[in-house]
Amino acid sequence: MLFLLRLIATLLHAAAVFAVAPLLMGAVNKFRAWALGRRGPPFLQPYYELYKHLRKTTLVPETATELFAIWPVAAFLATATAALLVPGFYTGMLTAPTSDFITLIGLLALARAATMLGGLETGFGFGGAAAGREVLFSLFAEAALLVVLLSFVLLAHSITVDGIAVAFATGHIGISVSLGFALAALLAVALTETGRIPTDNPAGHLELAMVHEALTLEYSGRFLLLLQYTAMLRLLLWMDLIGTIFFPFAMAQADSILTWPAGLVLWLIKLGIMAALLPLFEISTAKMRIFRVPEFLGAAMLLGILAGVFLFVAARIGS
């Protein structure tokens, strides 16, 4: 019975995640336009675009190898799997035991690798250059992420995202300097990973400065659909992650059906707030030069390290 409940919760969560991802992107774009004083595209614009790609013939470059089709699929599957592992509004889903933070990092790395290989596939300049930059970004992003993770694990005594959320939700942790540092670091990593300003510009179309967009330059049709949908899922995933870890309050429990509606609503509200905050941040900063990004992420990593160290100090003072 309990299992069935959890199964339903998991399926529901999956459906919600897959359905909401384009909407979230649409919301971000819309809020961004509003913040800039424009009317902006409709909230549902991403769905239209995805459908448009679905109906288009796929072009395959002559110089691509047989693996050309593999990369978008791999990137999508890895990201989608990861997105299912992060609890959005439920804790205690069936995927909870496998939602190990490190597995999550690994899946994101897998998606990144597939995207980079896709960029290198055709053998023309921009994809390769962008892949090289992506490697550079990932160096510090991954290091920062691991360091931040350390603070979470030390506080929550669990390494699964689910476990961290449960531990933080109980509220015994309280607000500490460490968590503040960790949040800042995690935000920096999230901005980089999702390709937002200040590290990358999702709206820009200047090839020389692009990173994420340049990697998908040669893809069209259903491959582009997959890649774009992957980007939307990634945004959702990161927002989920931040929301779940830092604001896990009143999350639904998979095995008590009564908490579900409130959890879902709260989740949508959380996503909405974050979708509003992101454009605000984006329009208030400028995009960095490529080689400033490592410094940005390096600072995030140092913040993460400081979080770990302060945690130690705090524990000593407390005990």
Binding site: R55, K56, T57, T58, L59, P61, E62, T63, A64, T65, L67, V73, F76, A78, A80, T81, L84, T95, T98, D100, I102, T103, G106, A109, L110, A113, L117, L120, E121, T122, G123, F124, G125, G127, G128, A131, G132, R133, V135, S138, L139, E142, A143, L145, L146, V147, L149, L150, I159, T160, L217, R222, L226, I290, F291, P294, G304, I305, G308, F312
Partner: protein, 554 residues
């Protein structure tokens, strides 16, 4: 299994003793597939190769110090000959390190269990395994011999050194164990990870790059061993088990994918005449089977989930995180930095693997050799296939593999508490499969299925001349260009302006200068005239007499 076998040959009057236990069996299991693969790949006709293998097996099966060192040195000597036949330049450095390592090991095995013995063991095995700062020979020497031997050197020989380290650090010297022994290994391991991964990202020669990646993996294993050693000395059974599992599983995984990659690099060399990534490209077209196998190996090297390299990395990160919770503030800071370094290393390894596949096998050919490459020969393909098949259990059911390795862990740390591995690839695959089915259904049901070949946008470059059927190679990013952002951002900071290994700059070069000074002095002595020689003899005699007189009179 615990019985000793005594051979009549060996040390005069004592012979040789053979002894197998769980640890040596594990390493024999790591060794066997590589040997088979290398033999199938074409090394089976070389006597030296079999001597090399014999040395490794002997070192593993050794039941006494003599047999161990004998096998160890036989392995070094045979591999030296193989390196020498391949490329003479690194051979001297290689054998220097090999002899240095035995020069540390022989005294160490006779010293009573103490910290000095451990330091010597760590120096000796670290030098042979390519642990920083004694690693600078490895990227030079491992690529030199034929691919089959490179494969065995990287995948097998390095493990033998680690085997000796494990045997002594965890079993023989266990009575005198100190927590700082582990710290030594962790520091060396972290340095290896960073330098190895960084150089792997920057090297353009495929085999050199693979050798650098070996340095990285040795570093990972050393970190695991170090944490286990520290935890064991501090009495933390759970952490000991996790860290040991990480190290051993990493050894197993690396022993599978690295030989595979080396064999593949050998086939690339055979097909195109070069292993420089800057001259390759698009090999996937001519060598699809080789390319697919290389892709598997690269996934292992990059420690991607669902590949063989992820489970050990997963365990190792868990171990580091758990270790950060133990000890004082210094340990906290240290392990936090270690974690950051491991993250950096993992990302670099990913970059290196992407570069290997993306530059070497995808894209357009950068030379006619690469364009006309034919698929790999049957022998090497078979060997690689064997390794790839063996990679599957490590990749998909790492928990079961770890369970099979339980006796080793209990042998090394009898009190170890073993928990189940929380990384389970099969549910993930199930999940991905479900998503794929759903997506496939959607695309199939509502999507348009047509595909059309089109010329890619070449970034605004002019049309390539007709004699370049694959377009102008210079409009394609090279391996060097791919690594350029990393070079500019961090490599110059760590490796210096010219990209030389810090071990080279701060260890090898000063030692070479010292040696040169010694040689000059010796030359001055040698050039002495007869009278000066007489003078030296006389002075020595007087010194001896004086010492004698003072010792007896005073």
């Amino acid at each position: 299994m615990t019985d000793n076998v005594t051979l009549m040959v060996g040390l005069p009057g004592q012979g040789m003793h053979l002894h197998l236990d769980a640890l040596s069996l594990l390493f024999l299991c790591i060794l066997a597939p590589q040997v088979l693969a290398s033999a199938v790949a074409g090394m089976r006709f070389s006597v030296t190769f079999w001597v090399f293998v014999f040395g490794m097996v002997l070192a593993l099966a050794a039941g006494d110090a003599f047999t161990l060192i004998f096998g160890f040195e036989l392995m070094s000597a045979a591999s030296w000959l193989l390196v020498l036949r391949g490329d003479q330049r690194p051979a001297t450095l290689y054998i220097t390190i090999a002899i240095f390592s035995s020069a540390c090991l022989i005294p160490a095995v006779f010293l009573p269990a103490s910290s000095i013995a451990f330091v010597l063991i760590a120096l000796g095995t670290g030098a042979k395994a390519g642990l920083a700062p004694l690693h600078s020979w490895l990227p030079k020497a491992h690529p030199a011999p034929p691919a089959g031997v490179s494969a065995l050197m990287s995948g097998g020989m390095v493990k033998i050194a680690l085997y000796v380290l494990i045997r002594y650090a965890f079993i023989v010297l266990t009575g005198a164990a100190q927590p700082w022994w582990g710290v030594v290994l962790i520091v060396a391991g972290i340095a290896s990870v960073v330098i190895g991964a960084l150089r792997a990202m920057l090297e353009t020669e495929m085999k050199t790059m693979l050798a650098c990646s070996t340095v990285e993996h040795v570093g990972l294993i050393a970190v695991g061993l170090g944490i286990a050693l520290r935890a064991k000395a501090m009495g933390d059974p759970a952490l000991t088990a996790v860290a040991l599992q990480a190290a051993l599983l990493c050894a197993v995984a690396h022993g599978l994918f690295k030989p595979l990659l080396f064999l593949g690099a050998g086939e690339v060399k055979h097909a195109t005449g070069t292993t420089s990534l800057n001259w390759l490209g698009g090999l996937m077209r001519g060598q699809p089977r080789l390319g697919a196998l290389m892709l598997l190996g690269a996934a292992g090297m990059a420690a991607l989930p669902l590949g063989p390299g992820f489970a050990p990395e997963f365990l190792l990160l868990h171990a580091v995180i758990a270790a950060a919770a133990t000890g004082g503030i210094l340990a906290r800071i240290g392990f936090t930095f270690a974690l950051a370094a491991l993250g950096l290393g993992a990302a670099l390894a990913l970059g290196a693997a992407v570069r290997l596949i993306g530059i070497g096998f995808l894209g357009r050919p950068r030379s006619l050799h690469a364009a006309s490459a034919e698929d790999a020969r049957r022998g090497p393909l078979f060997g690689m296939g064997l390794l790839a098949v063996l990679m599957l259990p490590v990749a998909l059911v790492p928990g079961q593999v770890l369970a099979a390795m339980m006796p080793v862990v209990t042998l090394l740390a009898p009190q170890a508490e073993i928990h189940l591995l929380s990384y389970t690839p099969l549910p993930l695959i199930l999940l991905a499969f479900l998503i794929a089915t759903a997506t496939g259904f959607i695309l199939h049901r509502w999507g348009v299925r047509g595909t059309r070949e089109a010329a890619p946008w070449n970034g605004g470059f002019g049309r390539a001349p007709v004699w370049l059927p694959f377009g102008d190679p210079t409009t394609q990013p090279s391996a060097t260009g791919f690594a350029e952002p990393v070079t500019r951002a961090i490599a110059r900071g760590i490796l210096g302006k010219h990209g030389t290994d810090p071990a080279e700059t701060y260890l090898v070069a000063p030692l070479q200068r010292l040696h040169l000074r010694g040689v000059r002095l010796a030359e001055r002595i040698r050039r002495a005239t007869i009278r000066q020689r007489l003078g030296v003899v006389f002075a020595a005699l007087v010194m001896f007499l004086l010492a004698l007189g003072l010792a007896e009179g005073g």
